[in-house]
Symmetry: C2
Subunit: 299 residues, 2 copies
């Protein structure tokens, strides 16, 4: 199997009540690939500037992430600056500098064109068509989005949803897309737009996974110290898809376990700034927390 | 065993986006006792006016609720009027008419003085002392509260918390009481104030139960149609305590199951206005939904 992740590689400047970090490495593609690398060898597709740290590229390779899809362009890497309040769900974007990301039209390397699972991690929906047309026969097309695209490219987004198998969205996005305030109703409505599975991410409240004939709920790990929530959703997707790529079966049973592994990876990511926690994370820790999730909900 | 529930019996006027009901029967004691009656024979303590419907008293008795602690006073029953928006967690109180509830100082009938479990369902914390002093040797003291008491009787509330074993609170209440925005930290801080167990109710996101050395999470039933959220928290408490009273053991294992039964009862209550759904509810439906909760989180 192979998993291709198309997303951003970025510098993030992050302020939380617990501190501030300037231009640390982030981006949806970065978080998602790192999380997936605990289960499989993901291929990442994206663009960086010449200022992107070599040691991070080396770290990707140590984690056995295929980086041949990363284009290095003369110029600066995409830069996002944001601030979180005491409530980690409240995020304010202060600055977005697209830099080399502007006008990026990914050309997939040969190794990515035979992907089984393609993850379109929060990118302009107009780009989806362009990317998917390069993949020969994807078995699972997975998409994430953000409020920006819902508000500015609604039609393109719904057009692309028709080609999507699994759609990741948070509660705000489900409400905006479906026009429903009840999340279950909203999720069901989105199931009529194409996807066979909706993964509804609810931050500290966990996630709900629905198909037409099943619902699965996973709690978030009860974290006392959320240091930096950036990338939690991307790590959820990475753990989820990495696990599915590893097991090569997408039964309800496996989708349930995938969602728990998504929640496990997200729970680690938020324990430190940027990707710092993922740098020290071990397979044993991932397994141990998976078992904690079992205990958390057992009755 | 025996469970005594001290709370309100009320008329509620409720407006939701799905309709309006004038002066239907409600109140924390009503909801909680009805929910508990699926597991045990609760004793309810409260006050009503001469306008309180006889058929509801008869219904209480049919559900084997001991109503000898209900005082009938000349005058009108407590009346609450509220409105819910599209988001069922957003509730506005329009009117509160205390009526016969004003100055109510419950005198427990003899049958209630030997209670094993005493539930103080959202009443003035100044009243707690008065009630508890009448119970000979309670094994489990359980308390719920609302924002009003946190803001107006904070000291009395913390004083009473010292005598409480299980404390029910929603996320707003935990934040207000603990001064913490992180719910897990907030819950842990409250554990230092007396209770051995905190039940953190999160509405549509379920509940977290914590003790000093354990955490259990229960999801809410994924309800597509929330008709009237009134009483959901009281039904959670009723199901929870009714089950504990029935099994007579309060191990972690039983507390977990109790929380699921709490969530089950709450999930039914919100399916119709007031107590209407509880009127038609059967033991078989309760059992069936309990099994659904198992499936919802199994992995």
């Amino acid at each position: 199997m192979s998993l291709v992740i198309v997303g951003s590689l970025a510098f993030d400047t992050i302020e939380t009540p617990w501190g501030r970090r300037e231009k640390i490495v982030g981006g949806s593609g970065t978080y998602c690939s790192l999380a997936a690398s605990f289960f499989t060898r993901p291929k990442i597709v994206g663009v960086v500037g010449t200022d992107f740290p070599r040691e991070i590229m080396a770290f990707f390779k140590r984690r056995r992430i295929d980086t041949r899809g990363i284009v290095v362009k003369r110029g600066k890497t995409f830069h996002w600056e944001g601030r979180y309040g005491r409530d980690p769900n409240q995020r304010t974007t202060i600055k977005t500098e697209l830099n080399v990301f502007r006008g990026f039209k990914p050309r997939l390397p040969l190794a990515c064109r035979k992907a089984d699972i393609v993850f379109l991690a929060n990118i302009d929906p107009d780009m989806h068509e362009h990317i998917l047309s390069q993949v020969e026969n994807p078995k699972l097309v997975v998409m994430d989005t953000i409020r920006l695209w819902i508000e500015t490219k609604r039609e393109a987004l719904f057009r692309e949803l028709k080609r999507v198998d699994i759609f990741f969205a948070n509660d705000e996005e489900v409400k905006l897309l479906s026009g429903q305030t009840n999340l279950i109703k909203g999720g069901r409505k989105l199931l009529e737009c194409g996807p066979s599975t909706i993964v509804l991410k609810k931050g500290e409240h966990g996630a709900l996974v629905f198909g037409r004939d099943f619902v699965f709920g996973v709690l978030a790990h009860p974290s006392e110290d959320v240091v930096d929530p950036t990338g939690a959703g991307d790590c959820f997707a990475g753990g989820f898809l990495g696990y599915l790529d590893k097991v090569k079966r997408w039964s309800h049973r496996e989708i349930r376990k995938a969602a728990v592994f998504g929640s496990v990876l997200a729970s680690f990511a938020i324990e430190d700034f940027g990707i710092d926690r993922l740098k020290s994370l071990t397979d044993q820790e991932v397994e141990a927390r998976f078992r904690q999730f079992k205990k958390l909900v057992a009755f």
